[in-house]
Symmetry: C2
Subunit: 240 residues, 2 copies
C-alpha cells in the first residue's frame, strides 16, 4: 500500500502571511503526522499563534507523546499565555505504523470528511478550538489503514468561502463530484476544493484557506518515499 | 517565480529505519528550509542521531536563529552528548525571502551541484560532519533566487552506490543527462538519480540514500502553496 498526502494552501487576499500553519513531520516509529493550525484572525499575529501551536505539537510528537496529549498540552500552553483571549484550531492526522491506523485529532469546529469508495461520511461531532479554557479535549477518531480510504481536512476559510455573497460552498457535494471521477489524485482533490473556494470568493479569498487530503492506495511500487513542495514567491521580487 | 522542492529517499536494503532524516519547515519570515541529516552507521541508532540533529536545527530556525548558528549548535550538542564518538552530516537549504537568496549550509563531505541553464558547478570545498570536535564550522553558500537555477543535494549513499561492484556512480554525468531533457521536473531529477543508484546497487541499496532537488522556475501561476508526500507502507501489513 501507499499513503499519499496532498496539501493546497492560500493566503487571505492581500495579506502576505497566512494565519494557517501546516507541517508534515516524521514520527519516532517511522510514520508521519500532518499538523494543521489556524490562529485567530489573520496576518502576523495569527501566524505567530498557529506557529507556536504547531511547534509545540511537533516537538511533543517527536518525543513520542501521543497526539491527544500533545493537543491538550498545546491548548494549556496557549491558555496560560493568552488567558483565553486568543484561540487556535488544530487538526492532526497521523499515520501510525504501530497500530496500522490513521489517527485523527481534532480541535476544530470544521468537520472532516472520510470517503471509502463511494461512501462519504462527515465527522461533525462538536469540537472546540485550543486555548478556550482549561481542560480542552480533542475529538479523536481512529481509522484502519486500507485501500480506497480518502480523508479531507480543512480550515474554516473553506467553510466561509462565498458567504459574503450569500453563496456558501457545499464541501460535501464538491468532494462527491471529484470522487466520481476515475480515482482522482489527492492533489487534484485538494486543488479542486481550494479553487472552488477561491472562485466563490471572486478570486479574493476572505480568509486563509488550507486543504489537506490523505489517501490510501493499493499501489505496490518501489520503496521510495517522495515529497514535493511548490512555493510561489512573487513576494521575493520586492527584495531582489 | 516559483520554487519547487523534490525529495526521493530510500532505506538501506533490509533495514526498516532510515538513518537519514529530512524535514521541510516554514521559516519565521515565510520562506522554507529543507533540513537533511545522515547519522553515522544505519538503522535505529543512526535514526536517533539524525532525528536529534534535525529537531535541534528546526527548533532553532523556528526561533529565528540563522542557519550557520543552528548547525554549530547542533554540532556542539552532538559532541557534548557523544564525546566525538558519533558524527552526523547536515545539509540545510533555505529559501530566504528577506535576502532573496537560497542559503546552503553544509557539514557534509558529499558535494552539492548547482545548475544554471547548461552550466553545472560542483560545490566541493572541504566540509566536515557535525560532532567531530568542538568548533565545527559549516560551509555556507548563498545564491540569488533566479529562474533556471537547480540545486542537487544528497547523502553519501548516492556516492557509495555501485562501489562494492567497482562501478561507482558518476553523479555529475547523470545530472547532466537529465538536464539535457526539456526542462525536467525536480521530482524527475531526484527520482532518476535515486533509481540509478539503486540499479548500481543491484536493487539492494548498500546505504540509506536521500536526494533533494530545489528548482526555481519563472512560472507565474496562482498563489497556492502545494505539498505532496508519498509514503510506501508495506511495513504496516505486519500489523493489520
Amino acid at each position: 500500500m501507499e499513503v499519499q498526502i496532498a496539501v493546497a494552501k492560500v493566503n487571505k487576499y492581500a495579506v502576505s502571511e497566512s494565519g494557517d500553519t501546516l507541517e508534515v513531520v516524521e514520527r519516532p516509529n517511522g510514520g508521519v503526522s500532518v499538523v494543521l493550525a489556524d490562529g485567530q484572525s489573520s496576518g502576523r499575529g495569527a501566524k505567530a499563534i498557529s506557529q507556536m501551536v504547531v511547534r509545540k505539537v511537533i516537538g511533543l510528537l517527536a518525543e513520542g507523546v501521543r497526539d491527544g496529549a500533545a493537543a491538550r498540552a498545546a491548548s494549556d500552553t496557549l491558555f496560560t499565555e493568552k488567558q483565553g483571549k486568543v484561540i487556535c484550531t488544530l487538526n492532526i492526522a497521523s499515520l501510525d505504523l504501530n497500530s496500522g491506523t490513521i489517527v485523527l485529532t481534532r480541535n476544530n469546529p470544521a468537520s472532516v470528511f472520510i470517503c471509502r469508495g463511494e461512501e462519504i461520511d462527515c465527522l461533525e461531532e462538536e469540537s472546540i478550538p485550543l486555548g478556550t479554557s482549561r481542560n480542552v479535549r480533542p475529538v479523536i477518531t481512529e481509522i484502519a489503514i486500507e485501500p480506497s480510504l480518502t480523508i479531507v481536512i480543512y480550515t474554516d476559510g473553506l467553510i466561509h468561502a462565498g458567504k459574503r455573497r450569500g453563496m456558501p460552498m457545499d464541501i460535501g457535494a464538491t468532494i462527491r463530484a471529484v470522487m466520481e471521477d476515475q480515482d482522482p489524485s489527492p492533489q487534484m482533490l485538494a486543488d479542486t476544493l481550494l479553487a472552488e473556494a477561491v472562485r466563490l470568493d471572486e478570486n479574493r479569498p476572505a480568509d486563509d484557506i488550507s486543504v489537506v487530503v490523505v489517501k490510501v492506495t493499493a499501489r505496490d511500487g518501489d520503496n521510495v518515499r517522495r515529497m514535493s513542495v511548490r512555493l510561489p514567491i512573487e513576494g521575493v521580487m520586492r527584495f531582489s
